[in-house]
Symmetry: C2
Subunit: 241 residues, 2 copies
């Protein structure tokens, strides 16, 4: 449907032909978008259904009457997950926001030897707000998952869920990411990026031992916060979706 602002809703907010908006979104619709009775609001749910609806009541909540609904397909056909050495808060937030737009399914911050920040738990609430907003803006119909920062050991346990595991690596001998992606048949792809300063040597050995394949990202050195955006752009581009 239209390219307007959208609001993510959960199934329990829908009752027959109406939608009840509560919480932060009420403020956004009333005070940021300054919408009035009869204005059109677009909502979407986890199933990829987009609801074109009309405002019928504005109190401490907002009541919408559903006018039209339709299925949308804005998700990539593969599950692409990006793991990254833990980096500073502002950078993580920037990366998360862009990864949502680019269609990433899951983001995993990993404690690595050269990570200069310590993992802070309970950042996920804030991250989820960023993800919700970026999903609404980019018209995604599924929320990117974001993990609490995990340890290097737990990371390898988690990686067993994936069919294809790659890691971004410098070096002239390393095959370009394109070599794998352009022929990739697997549906669940995990790609790991180092923190600032990159993986240390023991980590590279460990990655290879666990079956991760090294891939190059081109002839230039990308910052750790640029690498995930390059990778997700490449995946989305390769799939043409």
């Amino acid at each position: 449907m239209a390219t307007k602002q959208r609001y993510y809703i959960q199934s329990q907010q829908i009752r027959e032909h109406s939608i009840k908006i509560e919480g932060e979104d009420v403020h956004h619709i009333k005070n940021v978008m300054r919408m009035k009775i009869h204005d059109t609001v677009f909502c979407f749910d986890e199933q990829g259904i987009v609801y074109e609806s009309e405002i019928v009541a504005i109190t401490d909540h907002i009541l919408l009457a559903i006018k039209k609904q339709g299925q949308e397909h804005t998700e990539l056909s593969k599950n692409i997950t990006i793991a990254q050495g833990l980096v500073r808060r502002e950078k993580v937030e920037e990366v998360i926001k862009r990864l949502v737009e680019l269609g990433c399914k899951e983001y995993i911050p990993v404690q690595m030897n050269r990570s200069i920040v310590k993992p802070i738990k309970d950042k996920t609430m804030r991250w989820e707000t960023i993800i919700k907003e970026a999903s609404e803006q980019s018209h995604r119909t599924s929320m990117m998952k974001v993990q609490q920062p995990i340890s290097w050991q737990d990371f390898f346990t988690y990686a067993r869920n994936y069919d294809c595991c790659l890691f971004a690596h410098l070096g002239e001998e390393t095959p370009h990411l394109k070599t794998y992606l352009s022929t990739c048949k697997q549906d669940k792809v995990l790609i790991v990026v180092g923190p600032e300063g990159g993986f240390d040597q023991s980590e590279v050995i460990n990655l290879k031992k666990h079956g991760f394949l090294p891939v190059g990202l081109g002839n230039r050195i990308l910052r750790t916060e640029t690498a995930p955006l390059f990778i997700m752009s490449a995946c989305s581009y390769e799939l043409g979706e």
Copy 2:
């Protein structure tokens, strides 16, 4: 050579087997990197020559003795230029930084109908500093050009320098960027992105009239500051460079 910090130098700084560093870089080498006599410094020039050199004197300038030199190829084989509707300063700076890393040759801010900021002249000094730093960090050997913001009319005059002109466009009927890039034989490619809110209808008509082809960037709506990063990532990925 190594993946260390590098310093961009101009040919007049080289005298036989030595390099003279002046200005801001002296502070960076002395106080940020805390380097001493005999430490190794990597420099590069506009011709793509990388100089491995040793510090031989530190005064108000720094004198380096060249130990080794070699040609490097970190530039994309095509000239990819990104033009974008004028956006806010922080966003322009963020975009410029990432475009340098991703191998973009030139960035052109263009005044468009929905640009919410007015063009400010003389930002180029600041932009050039950002470009120099990002080039040093990403190991580029040529400086991305950045234009003063130009008008919509001047933009079309300038676009005549390009063999292939594309513009990012929403809509289900629009062929994906990949359709063109994967078969593109042209060397000079110009890709235009709208400001926040996108191109208006008259601009779309104008672009088509001037021979610009619409391309889609995938099924999700990208923010105006994400679109250039997606496009440059796609170009770099497609070239495998």
